[in-house]
């Protein structure tokens, strides 16, 4: 959580800010609120317009992963081994981990260029978590996982769409 005093982004659950020592314990409980601010904490990610996940196996080649992203019109693929989510490979990784280092996409398994153990959200998490992940952690793609099973996929566009419908659609 971000320290209100010095803005240091502490790991979740610390009692005191690691940077300036401010007591953070009392800040863990958000107040109930009304309006959009309240819904950001009380709605669930399951209520948002999420997309079905696009999945490949770790042994798939990078070429196969890119072809799947193209055919499914998706900015990333989730890498699944058995029923377990083991990684994520995004359109940004295409540039930074494949094209720039000039690796051969047809001869490289996606497991070699994916981000392992990606951050996830749960269907019961509030939308505020997703915005937090985008802004504070710079995550644009979030797998939605329930009981270790991938149930959906949330992107920045889904968050904007939710904001548009909830704030702007209502007015």
């Amino acid at each position: 959580m971000r320290c209100p005093n010095c803005s240091h982004d502490n790991i979740a659950g610390v009692d005191f800010c690691e940077e300036c020592g401010t007591d953070l314990a009392g800040l863990d409980l958000p107040e109930a609120r009304t309006g959009f601010r309240g819904r950001l904490l009380t709605d669930h990610i399951a209520d948002l317009p999420t997309a079905p996940p696009v999945v490949v196996s770790p042994k798939s080649t990078v070429t196969e992963a890119i072809e799947k992203m193209r055919s499914e019109q998706h900015g990333c693929v989730l890498v699944q081994e058995g029923s377990e989510l083991v990684g994520i490979f995004t359109e940004k990784d295409v540039l930074t981990r494949v094209l720039r280092p000039a690796i051969d996409p047809a001869a490289t398994p996606v497991s070699a260029v994916m981000t392992p153990k990606p951050m996830i959200v749960a269907p019961t998490d509030p939308p505020a978590f997703a915005i937090h992940n985008r802004v504070a952690r710079d995550l644009r793609h979030m797998p939605v996982v329930e009981d270790s099973k991938i149930v959906g996929f949330l992107s920045e566009r889904h968050i904007l769409s939710y904001i548009q419908e909830d704030i702007l659609g209502a007015g």
Binding site: M1, R2, P4, A12, G13, L27, D28, P30, E31, R33, G35, F36, R37, L40, L41, T63, I66, E67, M69, R70, G75, E84, L85, T90, E91, K92, V94, L95, T96, V98, L99, R100, P105, K117, M119, I120, V121, A122, D125, A128, F129, I131, H132, R134, V135, A136, D138, V145, S148, E156, R157, I159, L160, S161, I163, Q164, I167, L168, A170, G171
Partner: protein, 157 residues
């Protein structure tokens, strides 16, 4: 905080939001150079400008769809690969108009045109979310700890 966030977003003008100003290349810039700029600058897109006018945009999405698997010459000018005539908005438009363009069109970057008809910068979806988050830090940035943000494996598994 008495101000309602919904009213704040509805009233916000694009000119109040931070814009990316320097992510500009020329139509003749080679693909290889665009890749390098995007990678090293951590930019998700470049705006292709002829003089002061935005004539195209080239993003991670264009790389995915048009260049990733194609055996292109590194010297290919970016104007042959960009998405031409991007949707632009005036700097006097409201934030809701920008959100609508992004949601409806699936864009994450909108070149913003200033009073003189020149490209003033690029508004990104990230900056919009950051703007909203910054106006309710206690809701979005200070969140309670949670236990399941990473995948759990059995000990030693």
């Amino acid at each position: 905080m008495a101000l309602k966030i919904a009213d704040l977003i509805k009233a916000a003008r694009i000119r109040e939001l931070p814009m990316r100003k320097n992510i500009v290349v020329k139509p003749t810039t080679p693909l290889e150079e665009v890749y390098r700029l995007m990678d090293e600058g951590d930019w998700s897109a470049v705006v292709v400008c002829k003089g002061d006018k935005a004539v195209g945009i080239f993003s991670h999405r264009d790389i995915l769809y048009r260049t990733a698997l194609e055996d292109l010459e590194p010297s290919t000018p970016i104007e042959q690969l960009m998405t031409p005539d991007p949707v632009t908005l005036s700097i006097d438009e409201g934030l809701p108009a920008a959100i609508k363009v992004m949601v409806d069109g699936g864009y994450r970057h909108i070149p913003i045109i200033d009073d003189k008809g020149c490209t003033a910068g690029v508004l990104t979806s990230r900056e919009i979310l950051r703007y909203i988050a910054d106006h309710m830090p206690e809701t979005v940035l200070n969140l309670p700890p949670r236990l399941h943000q990473e995948l759990h494996r059995p000990e030693g598994g």
